[in-house]
Symmetry: C2
Subunit: 261 residues, 2 copies
Amino acid sequence: MAARSEDTSSDGRPDPAGFQSPWNRPPRRRDQPALSREQIVTEALALLDSDGIEALSMRKLGARLNAGATSLYTHVANKDELLALVVDQVFGELPMPTAEGAEDPAVWRAAVVGCADNMRAAIMRHPWMVSVIGDVGMVYLGPNWMRLSESLLALMETAGFELVEANEAMSAVMGYTIGTACVEAAWLSALTKSGQDERVWMEQLLPAVLEATKSHPRLHRLYATQVQQEVNEGSRDNSFIRGVGVILDGIEATRAAQGKG
Amino acid sequence: MAARSEDTSSDGRPDPAGFQSPWNRPPRRRDQPALSREQIVTEALALLDSDGIEALSMRKLGARLNAGATSLYTHVANKDELLALVVDQVFGELPMPTAEGAEDPAVWRAAVVGCADNMRAAIMRHPWMVSVIGDVGMVYLGPNWMRLSESLLALMETAGFELVEANEAMSAVMGYTIGTACVEAAWLSALTKSGQDERVWMEQLLPAVLEATKSHPRLHRLYATQVQQEVNEGSRDNSFIRGVGVILDGIEATRAAQGKG
DNA sequence: ACGGTCGCCGTACAGTGTTCGCAACGCCGT
DNA sequence: ACGGCGTTGCGAACACTGTACGGCGACCGT
């Protein structure tokens, strides 16, 4: 809500709630610039998380920071740049993998799976990410993403991969992770937008789906038998993790066939 | 450009170029509704392809169809619904796989790889897809997507998969495809937005990247050695296809371990 | 003391998606 | 033949959006 309301008057702008006159108004303290890039990015992230992507406008964000909309532009070039910064901030939440003990294949596998799972969890925690991930082309040069990539590469190097090999494997895992999370989070944010509980939403939707899949027997069977289970338990998580495992199996098989074990 | 300009006057709206009076104005031909959902979707697709996502506005789209902006709303509920329709239209471009001869593992693999490759190609052909794919949650119920899913499931069923097995494998491949294409297309559309040729753009960007990766030795090496090759030949295509192959290896390995071969 | 710079913001502009009421039209029952 | 009716198109309007620009006040180096 209206955070930081306690210092509304201390920075010189009139506080409409309390009585103000030119004599009792304290001078604006400019001890520090009152607005920083970090602050903006953090507040944008909070706004996105609480109200979704279409609630993020420069004016609303400025209001949350007790600032005018155009003030943000001294710290951030664009809305696009702001979004890129926020996305990298999310990547900054992810714990970094350590290369320790990665010579053991089991340790290495567990570390990669954990990484992928963390990433997927982050996207599901911030479902607006998928509406933005296609527009922020430069994110892969952001500091947090680069830190993450670097340590993943280090991990795989200690596991015995060549650099380009490691890169390809990483791309495969990350591609799978992002793609899966996209599909899931798109569903999730459609659900959020409908405002209903997942169970209720599903119960309303299922008849229509079964009707629509009448001429597609396999999809029909799939939806009829599978979907409810997926909703009830968190079995999508397991399915995802199994998927990562399958990819790692493929990678190891390829390596074994090349005589590098 | 301005298509259909020949009948600007024949549908009764005043043509600002030619002289018009109430006496020579021909009656509006309402032989057929002049605007249809298909037409709108097709023109929206054309506009998106030629000018990108941020050029698509209801007014511009209406203008292209010699119609007012608000006329579109009789055929389409929302801009969101329009986008969902357009996305499904793109999926309609994809050739459907046939289950013929899929008992042969080689045939089956080739079909799946081809499917994934077609999908990736479609996304790269329409790079705006990635900016939209996160917002159209209901796309997976679109007719074209469903047709595609159904025939993929059929393909894998003839290859010997159980239904839920087939679904999981399909999700893995599709997830990887969408994720990879997202990453690539985001890069591509950032490039398009810059308006430069890929080579020039790269030459300008590379020094900055190498500077930025100074404290990340592995990324540094990777960019220094790898990137130019990727640009020069179309080696990203091969890399993607190899990735799909790796996933299929993993799937087959898992199945073999379960004694289904 | 005083110019220069920097951070902030009010205003303004050119758009955006969407709603609403009205008009024109084909059709259908009488 | 004719009067209502449902459908389709559209102009105006509303509430918002991102952002360029110019000004204003406070700070800092000299």
